[in-house]
Subunit: 187 residues, 2 copies
Amino acid sequence: METLTEFNLAEAIAILTRTPATLNALLRGLPDVWTLRNEGRNEAEDTWSAFDIVGHLIAGERTDWMPRARIILEKGEARPFDPFDRFAQAKESQGKSLEQLLDEFARLRSENLAALQALNLQPQDLARRGRHPALGVVTLSQLLATWAVHDLTHLHQLSRVMAHQYRDAVGPWSAYLGVLHCAGHSA
Amino acid sequence: METLTEFNLAEAIAILTRTPATLNALLRGLPDVWTLRNEGRNEAEDTWSAFDIVGHLIAGERTDWMPRARIILEKGEARPFDPFDRFAQAKESQGKSLEQLLDEFARLRSENLAALQALNLQPQDLARRGRHPALGVVTLSQLLATWAVHDLTHLHQLSRVMAHQYRDAVGPWSAYLGVLHCAGHSA
């Protein structure tokens, strides 16, 4: 087995810093066909569109990552995290454009990364423990690693949802295009 | 069944135009741990790193997409495409930095999109047929749709390869992170 990458705060921040610009480059100004549709094969399959995904990332910035980091540092395992509402974005995003959501995500992420840096975390802080309402005991480093991988899981989902719009247009090439064979694993 | 998105040249170009900036925002300046490692669980699994993926996209710009479009327009089904060398990048990328590859990809993509626009394709051109060496008869619109979805399949792969570096660092959250459960479908 190869040695797995250990968590490193600077490396996680390198991912977290880049996500808003990545989504901006990928999505801003795209025709609605790519950003407002989901990958469902029929209307009963209520999967997410790019618009929904950016709304979900905003909800995470507001209610999940940094609030949970503060609960770990201030209360430890004594105070379980609030459950994350995976559907909070439907209300929050209503009436907004994708461009407004991209701007809002970039602003919130930047504020949260400034707050994270201001905590001046030391190596021993990263081992501090909190309590997830379903998963049980977790550490601050696991929370911060998850924040970064959560960005990547939604980039993975975005590329899949977008690609599926052309699943018929590619004709026989669909056999070679891995993303079209992804059943979707994103929570 | 919902109506699937039909191929639309302007919509495909909207994706193709954005990919270089997306990869640039995601990858430029990232620590090597994210860009030079693959997702293999051991050394025998020879999967691709971000560096390999950008090299592969460059090879496609040089030898695949526009050359095949020209074969369709000039020779039709009479002249099968050359097979695409999926490992051409190993030699081409040797000794280069990721930043050099990102620059090269952006330049080639921009040149190819200018050449595509210069073809001034009409709707009837999009139905013109060519011959893939393994898949048989394909149309120009299928080729161009595949060019766009090929970008998305490699963005999907990139997010997976990067996320897997932290598959242990996230601890119990791995259960919720879909990208960590993707076995990889990319050709």
